[in-house]
């Protein structure tokens, strides 16, 4: 791991930030429980009297539901409840804001239990609760559904045509900026447009212009823990949900909205979470389990199996993208034009807005145009997946950039340095960047041992690519209780994915000048901590970390006041510095004062909240070496290095882990992962044998270079880390494949059959 602090260097200072805790690698607070198997994940939750749920899912990709007969299921001994959408309130067209975005409640409700139509294979139709899972599954199979089967539409371009079957009768094309809707039924839910400068003039000024089209496949987040929810709808009207989620407060709101109960009646208890990556924000099971519980009078647990997860939870969209870029003779970009159509899946809401904002985000584009479409198809409703929308877009743009570099005879890294976005660059969507670190990641890669090492051998190639993702701020809260021994119990609302509770505890510890090991961080339920937005958007280390900083400052103020009172001196004569309380003739450590104060007065409890909006944004640049088997088209990765601007690395090991994890997911997306549908709309690889995520046998060590350009909008300079590393890999791999065997890939994944097809085509042409 290398660390670069460009900000300090730019300021002409060789002094690096000196932190006691930040930048160290303490053992994670949840480590012992997790490595010993004692940590409680969603399916480990057991509630007294609990029964089990099963869900009947659609065998068709597109069909009207003509009737549902649940009588045989209800008659089966051991069955305690059977529900359909008729048992859920009708939410109408109300839109709910869920912190990270909005959703039409009717769509969300229909995705939990289909109302009049099924829109993808695996769409849930009815649910059963029974004394054991076997009875529940048997009863679910006894439910009789009469369908009117409709033709499915699985391709984004076909779905946009006037002849395509329309999925949702309430969808008209909405112009994003004006809200105006078209007057015809369509699958195109939303239209975006960004423009900057004079694009015609920009292309007229270009010496070289490259225009290409790209396709990317539907891919899943592939978290190892499947979805699970346990719910108790108590006799007093209180609903408690235990679940594996990225956002307890978001689940609370979704459950309250979908069941039409007051927010205060719902409590969500987070379990440990076996991965989410954006896929565990929407609810699929909790409202169903709660409704079953209400009827059965017992807590109900519903667990998905892997097929359910792949077929019926939100993957990230397949897409069709057209990119046109022009450069002058010196290599400066003169114009760029993008057209992006993203599959929303069954209901509107693909990450097309983000994709459109990211497509040229790495470059200073003087004249640009970006048009985007959100398009419904008969696949599960898409959801966020690590930098949602950005990977598709980067694959297209970066591949065109590579071709421009070839025409210019310019090294790709130098082209990127020449045209890189930097502070003050105005994006095509209009916003200018604050202090960012793209250039620094390019320079880090250029200076890396990997980049400088020769690559030898037949059919071997090297490629680089860059990527960007926004960081979110949003709301967070923490509570810090000082114990009588000087340890601190830190309660937070951010469910912990990737070691965030330790990264937050470290920022709290840094603020007070105490050891991370003296903090006991706990992720608690929605009744026990202030509102906190989801663990997503690369926001937790930034925002909840800031809340922890504020809680530390709050405790400092209290300690100073209480110490002054204890020592009978003026508060102005007391200060808090680096873990010590300083009085006129005293210097007492945090632990000592904690013991003293707890003996003589009220408990010390600090609070911290944040709702800041300067999270910055983050960039990464990756380099990869590959070897391509010309006989099979199989791509083997020989070496991989990822550089990323992380602002300030709070816990470098977790930062490295995030970069490595994101890169691995991007590699999977680039080389193997895709939803395979037959013409009836049935996913044919809904298991982890056939949906091929990379394993340790497929990968070398992912080397990381942590670049630190501190975010001026955070007390410790934090930027979000988790999402950026998934953005560059497919594009970097495509560049490496071209370097190795001379074929430009324009479709993801670049699996052996696709690479071989291009190799054979090239052979035929030559």
């Amino acid at each position: 791991m290398a660390t670069i602090d460009e900000t300090k260097a730019a300021e002409g200072s060789d002094e690096t930030p000196k932190y006691k805790v930040i930048g160290t690698r303490p053992i994670r607070h949840d480590g012992a429980d997790k490595v010993t198997g004692r940590a409680l994940y969603g399916a480990d939750i057991k509630v007294k009297g609990m029964i089990y749920g099963a869900i009947l899912r659609s065998p068709h990709a597109h069909a009207n539901i003509k009737s549902i007969d649940t009588s045989k299921a209800k008659a089966l001994p051991g069955v305690r409840a059977v529900i359909t959408s008729a048992d859920l309130p009708e939410p109408g067209d109300k839109i709910a804001e869920l912190g990270e975005g909005s959703v039409v409640l009717n769509h969300l409700s229909s995705n939990n239990l289909a109302r009049t139509k099924v829109l993808y294979k695996g769409h849930s139709i009815a649910a059963v609760a029974a004394d054991n899972i076997h009875i529940a599954q048997e009863a679910a199979n006894l439910i009789e559904v009469e369908y009117e089967i409709l033709p499915p539409v699985l391709d984004v371009l076909k779905a946009m045509s006037d002849e395509a079957p329309v999925l949702n009768p309430d969808v008209r094309t909405e112009e994003a900026a004006t809200g105006e809707k078209g007057d015809k039924h369509t699958n195109i839910a939303k239209h975006f447009l960004f423009e900057k400068g004079d694009i015609e003039k920009g292309f007229a000024d270009a010496k070289y212009v490259v225009e290409r089209e790209f396709n990317t496949s539907t891919v899943h987040q592939g978290y190892i823990e499947p979805h699970v929810a346990t719910a108790l709808w108590n006799n007093d009207g209180q609903i408690t949900v235990w679940t594996s989620t990225q956002g307890t407060f978001s689940v609370r709101q979704q459950v309250a909205e979908l069941l039409d109960v007051p927010l205060a009646r719902v409590k969500v208890v987070p379990a440990e979470i076996g991965g989410g990556f954006g896929g565990k924000i929407s609810v699929y099971l909790a409202p169903v389990a709660a409704t079953l519980s209400r009827i059965a009078g017992a807590p109900v647990q519903v667990v998905m199996d892997r097929t359910d997860v792949l077929q019926a939870t939100g993957p990230t969209p397949g897409s069709h993208i057209k990119i046109k870029m022009g450069v002058d003779a010196d290599g400066h970009i003169t114009a760029a034009d993008a057209w992006l159509a993203y599959e929303a899946g069954a209901y509107p809401g693909s990450p097309i807005g983000a994709g459109a904002m990211c497509v040229f985000s790495c470059y200073d584009v003087p004249n640009g145009r970006v048009e985007g479409f959100d398009v419904c198809v008969n696949k599960p409703r898409t959801n966020a997946y690590r930098a949602p929308g950005a990977t598709n877009a980067a694959f297209a743009t970066e591949t065109v950039v590579e071709e421009l570099c070839e025409k210019l005879g310019m090294a790709p890294v130098d082209f990127r340095l020449l045209n890189a976005s930097k502070e003050g660059t105005r994006r095509v969507d209009g916003v200018t960047y604050p202090r960012i670190g793209l250039v620094e990641t390019l320079e880090a890669i250029k200076e890396s041992d990997h980049f400088k090492s020769p690559l030898e051998g037949q059919h071997r190639g090297r490629g680089i690519a860059s990527g960007f993702w926004f960081n979110a701020g949003l709301k967070s809260a923490v509570t810090a209780t000082v114990n009588s021994d000087g340890s601190v119990s830190l309660l937070e609302g951010s469910t912990d994915i990737g070691g965030s509770r330790t990264a937050i505890a470290m920022q709290f510890a840094e603020t007070l000048g105490i050891a991370a090991e003296d903090i006991k961080p706990a992720v608690v339920d929605t009744d026990s901590v202030g509102y906190t937005d989801v663990t997503g958007g690369s926001r937790v280390t930034y925002a909840t970390g800031w809340a922890a900083y504020e809680a530390g400052k709050d405790l400092q103020r209290q300690i100073v006041a209480r110490a002054a009172d204890l020592w009978e001196v003026d508060p102005d004569q007391v200060s808090y510095e680096d873990g010590y309380v300083l009085g006129p003739d005293k210097k007492v450590s945090f632990k000592e004062i904690a013991v003293e104060l707890s003996a003589v007065g009220e408990p010390l409890v600090g609070r911290g909240v944040s709702n800041h909006n300067e999270p910055g944004g983050a960039f990464g640049t990756h380099v990869v070496d590959v070897e391509v088997d010309p006989d099979t088209g199989k791509v083997d990765i020989l070496r991989y290095t990822a550089a990323q601007d992380c602002g300030t690395a709070i816990h470098p090991a977790y930062v490295e882990g995030q970069i490595q994890g994101g890169a691995v997911q991007g590699i999977g997306w680039g080389l193997n992962e895709e939803y395979w549908y037959d013409e009836d709309g049935s996913m044919r690889n809904a298991n982890f044998l056939d949906y091929r995520i990379p394993t340790c046998y497929d990968l070398p060590m992912i080397d990381t270079i942590i670049v630190e350009v501190p975010n001026p909008g955070h007390p410790f300079g934090v930027r979000g880390v988790g999402e950026v590393p998934i953005v560059p890999p497919p594009a970097a791999l495509a560049a490496a494949i071209y370097d190795a065997v001379g074929v430009r890939m324009d479709e993801l994944p670049m699996s052996p059959p696709r690479v071989l097809h291009e190799l054979l085509k090239k052979q035929k042409e030559s």
Binding site: S102, T178, G179, F277, P388, V431, A472, G713
Partner: protein, 87 residues
């Protein structure tokens, strides 16, 4: 006075202008100022006085959680962009 950048799809209602210097100390006042010049813009951008679902306000490089009530300075830039979520 703040600069309000007009989304491309709204420019046909604003005489084709890409941006306007507007009056106001909040985003809402800035939009009202634009609406004074081009009536109907307010209803399209902020129906019923609320930010349209799925839209966010960016003031001086940052998406503001305060939406229309966000204060702006005479040097501010205001943009209306798609609301995005992360993974």
């Amino acid at each position: 006075m703040p600069r309000l950048f007009i989304p491309p799809l709204l420019r046909s209602y604003c005489g084709g202008k890409e941006e306007m210097i507007v009056e106001g100390t909040t985003v809402l006042e800035a939009v009202q100022s634009l609406d004074n010049e081009y009536p109907g813009v307010m209803e399209r951008l902020c129906p019923e006085g609320k930010l349209r679902a799925g839209t966010s306000v960016t003031v001086d490089q940052n998406v503001t959680p305060r939406g229309l009530s966000q204060k702006v300075s005479s040097e501010s830039e205001i943009h209306f962009l798609p609301a995005i979520g992360g993974g």
